[in-house]
Subunit: 148 residues, 2 copies
């Protein structure tokens, strides 16, 4: 009765397979953050802060909620992040007089000015990734499929 190939002895293919997709996504996201870091350090931004600034550079006064919808993050993540951006002088936060529950976040002059420097980032990233553009775009499209 010894040496029977119980489930505990197999590699368990289902676990290995699943492994691949979540692994790949997890690893790719971590690596992306690491790739961005040196460039963003030069701007004084973290990766999530950069993403928030991207949203604000497209449309400047926005509520915390709207930013959260765009970034798929909730206030427990955004509020501290925005406070740090405010402490760095990049954004301004104040309650909406129309509805005191809302907080409106807008770019400061410094925040707007930072965009000029940020424009160099995408090209540097594409260069650092060293992957054909069409490959990157195909990947992006497939990732959107997961975007519940």
């Amino acid at each position: 009765m010894s040496k029977k190939p119980t489930p505990s002895d197999r590699p368990v293919e289902s676990l290995r397979l699943d492994n691949q997709l979540c692994f790949a996504l997890y690893g790719a996201a971590n690596r992306m953050t690491r790739l961005y870091r040196p460039m963003l350090d030069a701007l004084g931004l973290t990766y999530p802060q950069y993403l928030a600034m991207l949203v604000l550079w497209e449309k400047s006064p926005q509520t915390v909620g709207a930013l959260g919808d765009a970034l798929d993050l909730d206030s427990s993540t955004l509020t501290p992040l925005l406070k740090r951006l405010e402490a760095g002088g990049l954004v301004e936060r104040h309650r909406d007089p129309e509805d005191e529950r809302r907080v409106i976040v807008g770019l400061s002059d410094k925040g707007r000015a930072l965009r000029d420097q940020a424009e160099a980032v995408p090209e540097q990233m594409i260069c650092a990734l060293d992957t054909p553009m069409n490959e990157l775009m195909a990947l992006r499209e497939r990732l959107k499929i997961l975007a519940k």
Copy 2:
């Protein structure tokens, strides 16, 4: 000289484009973690802990360094994570007598037993993702391209 369309007025297409890929990756990774959470809660694991267990279920005694290579994480992340797994009774950690610098991590009986429950996770995930299998595999392959 007013109303000249300076860079500060354009949407800045390069920023928008870049936006898409890093956004997509960032969002997909976050959503994946959220999707796994309820299933992993039932196992008493976090998502990174689950990934570490996947590696250990494939090969049990391993050094911290080998786990780090597999997960692309360093000891500053892994050591605390492994200590938590140890506190939960899922793994055992001890110095390698052959080389006292190394720490060997192995599954406990409880850790090995957990694999039986974990085997249900991949199928649940595929179901929860509600995306064709070939789509998921294509995505996985493309993500590997980014794997430095």
